[in-house]
Amino acid sequence: MMKKKSDILWPLGFGAVFLIIWQLYGFHRLLDLKPFQLPVPSEIIMTIFKNLEKVSGDCLLTVTGAIAGMAIGSAIGFAVAVTATLFPKWGYGGLTVISAFNAIPIVALSPIMNRWFSTGMGQKIGVVTVVTMAAMAINAYRGLNDLKPFSLDLMSSYAADKRTVFFRLRLPSCLPSVFTALKINITSAMIAAIVSEYFAASTSGLGFGIKDSLRKAEMAMGWSYITVSAIVGIILYLIIQAVERRAIKWHASQK
């Protein structure tokens, strides 16, 4: 119990100190910044509250896109990993092919997706999907194939078919890797959704807000959007972590 408390207190305490230094212009002095270059927390928070409705609307939009895209992307990535596992001879190539998508920058992806989807949401989901595929595919593949010694032998001794081996052995043993992938993906999904909105055919979403505000020197507004996206990102991350704790209690990493 004590441990649980410190789990929260440490980062919060650190965060509080960080915010106070920031609020008292500590970073401004240190990094030689003017308040109008980097607004202080109080100003950011006030701006958020002043624009709460707009900000939360934009946030919802972006998060929806990010989550939908991540779900699709992770599913595709996982499917590729499964294929590569079930058909090792032929399937492995898929992993390398999918990693190619990781090398296409969002700046190039976004206009392409703009062509494919006429709505901002479609474009966003498209971009996030592509961005999240590889991390899941590569991690899941490792998890599906890095089995404990003889655990596969046990399955063959039961003449278990591929399906059974997959569901009874590979799936549970790949969970830790899948969660690692999800953690990577939730961050890249958010940022991909945001950056895709720079180019999207719509004028809403956190990304549009960030770009529009920062370009127009509305730093407080821009940083409000950034703050909100960071908060949402960390909440989503914590949710994944909480699910992970429950799902793989048995794993060494959860000790």
Binding site: D32, P35, F36, Q37, S202, T203, L214, A217
Partner: protein, 338 residues
């Protein structure tokens, strides 16, 4: 506030510009060139041909300047680059500069390169947009991020409500949305996107264009600016820079084909044809008909005022800009004296 601003400036000049400020007076004499950096607003292209021409023809060197031209990019904001000391001087749009100034950034406009707005609203003939009033009920593209105010002015001058009477959509820096009929009218710069439309096979007669200059909603675009502080310390250097730049722009506007080639060779980005097309169009903005090319860089305070007024009216500025504070034409005046 004020004390911290003074030490910030000291350290900024000492870290990145110490050489230029210390060797200022002796430089030309002993053959050592003063280093100076110019931040472009966008990718190297004929939009900035004056500086490239001046550089290639050695005008900066003649003035004792070693100029480095920093290209812009999608994540680069010239005002911030200059304020942060990454560059000494920058190119930006006046409305954007006014906004930064109003937020407390001590920046000054020092010369106005484009005398006219290059912004167009382009549509296919079939959409039937012949006047701004025809925009009613249409889907109209803009790049936003500060590029939307001329459009707002055009819409509202035509008596339309920009929220209710039409739909504004973000454009992604290509003309694909227009070509694909996802939007009815697209923002386009005369020297760039419009040219791309023509190059991709559209004929002038297939297109309608609404020119901001024709509907009294033009705002000023490319100008030169720097921080008040840097200007205070490097006035002489800056005058020399302006002199060389104006010379470059004069050459470029006289011979856009050559200028286009120079830009293409300096940084072969877009195709040569497009650079030349752009050079020709830009020349029309820098030296419009009837404009004395000796006065390149002249700041038309009326135009600045109109820009500031629209910026205020459409919400970019929250209070009227004190435009006299924002502009410092003294260097330019000195540069064009001879």
């Amino acid at each position: 506030g004020s004390s911290s601003s003074s030490d910030s400036s000291e350290s900024s000049s000492s870290s990145s510009k110490s050489e230029s400020s210390s060797s200022e007076s002796s430089s030309a004499a002993n053959g050592k060139l003063d280093k100076m950096t110019l931040q472009l607003k966008w990718l190297p292209q004929s939009q900035f041909m004056g500086y490239y021409v001046a550089k290639v023809k050695g005008y900066y060197e003649d003035e004792g300047i070693d100029l480095e031209i920093l290209p812009g990019g999608s994540d680069i904001i010239p005002e911030q680059q200059v304020y942060n000391g990454v560059a000494d001087v920058g190119v930006t749009w006046v409305s954007s500069l006014l906004k930064y100034q109003s937020q407390g950034w001590e920046l000054k406009e020092t010369a106005q390169i484009f005398q006219k707005s290059a912004m167009l609203l382009v549509s296919k003939k079939a959409a039937g947009i012949n006047t701004p009033a025809d925009l009613k009920g249409k889907k109209v593209g803009s790049w936003f991020g500060g590029n939307e105010y001329e459009l707002y002015a055009m819409i509202e001058n035509a008596g339309l409500d920009r929220e209710k009477d039409l739909t504004l959509v973000q454009q992604d820096y290509t003309m694909d949305q227009l070509m694909n009929d996802e939007i009815d009218a697209a923002s386009a710069m005369t020297y760039n996107e419009y040219g791309l439309l023509l190059e991709s096979g559209y004929k002038e007669e297939d297109l309608n264009k609404l020119d901001m200059n024709d509907y009294n909603c033009a705002m000023l675009e490319d100008c030169l600016f720097s921080t008040s502080e840097w200007l205070g310390k490097n006035k002489d250097l800056y005058v020399r820079f302006l002199r060389a730049s104006i010379k470059g722009w004069q050459d470029a506007c006289e011979n856009p084909e050559e200028a286009g080639k120079i830009v293409y060779e300096a940084d072969n980005s877009v195709s040569l044809d497009h650079q030349i097309y752009m050079a020709k169009e830009v020349a029309k903005l820098v030296v419009p008909e009837g404009f004395d090319k000796a006065k390149i860089g002249y700041i038309d305070m009326n135009a600045v005022k109109q820009t500031a007024d629209y910026a205020l009216k459409y919400g970019l500025l929250t209070q009227a800009a004190n435009i006299d504070e924002c502009v410092d034409s003294s260097c330019w005046e000195e540069a064009v004296k001879q």
